[in-house]
Every structure is written in structure tokens, then in C-alpha cells.
């Protein structure tokens, strides 16, 4: 597999942003991990992670089919430096309130750079079998490829 130079995604989701085989005992622990990945890639400052936890208390970001999309509350947007998406996979799942999350997609977004990846994610969400495969896969290239395939136009 050759290195992806220009993925057309503006660098918001890179192969290095996908971490498989994670374990967490709680939703907050998983959010802290996603937050640390966003901090490490330079997308947010540490304060943003608190905003991500706050958001879950307002409305859960569990989307369905084992996918959660944690992101900060509106006021934590000040702590975003650049748009970034990080994916952590929990084969054993994390109790996310309304459901058990296996694919945790941490998001920090300014502007519209993230729209393409989220449009694709919306498609993935409709596909229960694919969500199940992504939850258990040990092939990061497969997960990256499925999450970044161009959205279909139907």
C-alpha cells in the first residue's frame, strides 16, 4: 500500500489518526483518549477535552450501530486550532449511554473541512454489517479506506 499524499480530505483524517484495539472502562476514559489524540495532532488545546465531556451531559453523541461522535460544546470551539478527526476502535465496546460504542470518532471542526468525512460516515452508519466489520477489524488500512471512500451520489 503506497502512502497517501493528497487524499482530497485536507488532512483532517489521516491514516495515523486511526487507532485500533483500544480498551476503556468508561465513556469519559474513551473521550479522554480521543481528546489526547486531537491534542497530539495539534487540532485542539487540552481545554477542548472538557468541552467534549460536557457535551455528553447535554445530548449524547452516540449515533447508532456502535458509532459515537464525541465533540465539544459550542463554547469549547475557541479551543480548536484546526479541524481534525480521530478514530479509536473498541472491539469490546464502551458503554456510551444510549448504546455501546465500538467506533469512537473524535471531532474538532472549524469551517467545513470535515463535511466530506462526516458525509461518508453518515453512509457507513446506515450499513450495519460494515459498522460491525469496522468494530472488529485489525486492518487499519481497511478502516481508513472505508471511512474515506468518496460518498456515493445516490
Amino acid at each position: 500500500m503506497s502512502a497517501v499524499v493528497d487524499d482530497g480530505l485536507g488532512g483532517v483524517l489521516m491514516p495515523a489518526d486511526i487507532v485500533l484495539g483500544c480498551r476503556a472502562d468508561s465513556r469519559d476514559e474513551a473521550i479522554e483518549f480521543s481528546g489526547s489524540l486531537l491534542v497530539a495532532r495539534g487540532s485542539v488545546s487540552a481545554e477542548y477535552v472538557e468541552g467534549m465531556k460536557q457535551r455528553e451531559e447535554v445530548v449524547s453523541t452516540y449515533l447508532g450501530n456502535g458509532v459515537a461522535l464525541p465533540h465539544g460544546v459550542l463554547e469549547s470551539k475557541d479551543h480548536i486550532r484546526s479541524t481534525g478527526i480521530v478514530v479509536s476502535q473498541y472491539p469490546d465496546g464502551v458503554d456510551w449511554g444510549p448504546g455501546t460504542a465500538h467506533l469512537v470518532v473524535g471531532l474538532a471542526a472549524v469551517g467545513d473541512d470535515h463535511v466530506q468525512v462526516l458525509s461518508r460516515l453518515a453512509e457507513v452508519l446506515q450499513d450495519e454489517d460494515l459498522c460491525g466489520a469496522l468494530a472488529q477489524s485489525d486492518d487499519a488500512a481497511f478502516v481508513y479506506e472505508r471511512l474515506t471512500a468518496p460518498p456515493s451520489d445516490d
Binding site: 457535551r55 445530548v59 449515533l63 450501530n65 461522535l69 465533540h71 459550542l74 462526516l118 453518515a122
Partner: protein, 109 residues
Amino acid sequence: MTERVTKAADEVKLIVFACEAGMGSSLMGANQLKRMVKKAKLDIAVVHNPVGQLSDDADVVVVHKGLAKQAQQKAPGAAIVPFTLFVNDPAVKQLVASLTSGDPIVSKL
């Protein structure tokens, strides 16, 4: 007790999908709804917004039930459609079904 906002199906030109930050969840929801609206060949715009930035130009506001009251305060003239599931919520399906068949949209609040 005021009358619930009711919109005739052909009055609905703009649906706003609202969430807390307008960053992730509402974008996902709006995308799904756009797809459904397009599939049903309806001439209706679908946008997403933070609930705090709603304005009264929305005909219908689709919003998580936890934020529905706030949405109603911001957009008192809109029919509010609360949902609980970000994927395949029956209330959202019902909304598209009503718009397709020409039935009025009655605010749930």
C-alpha cells in the same frame, strides 16, 4: 396553552437540523435527511445549525428531544420535530412521509 404550530406540506421550504454545537451531530442528521428529501424528490432545503443560532426562517426544526424546548424558543414559528436517534429515527421518517403525501406538519411542542 397556545396553538401548536402547523405547517402545510407545501409551505415547508426550509428544514433546519439543529444540535448543540452545529459541528457534528446535526451535520450527520442533516446529511441523512437531505438524502431522504432528495430521494422523495421534494424541493426543500435542509441545513444544519447550532440550536442557539436558530432563526424564525425555518419552517421545520428537527432537533434532539433534549434541545427541543430551546429550539422552540428560538424559532417559535417553526414546527418542531424532536428525535431521539441520530440514525433512522421514526420521527424523521414520518416527517418525510408526511411531506411526501402532503400531510400537514404539526409541531410536537
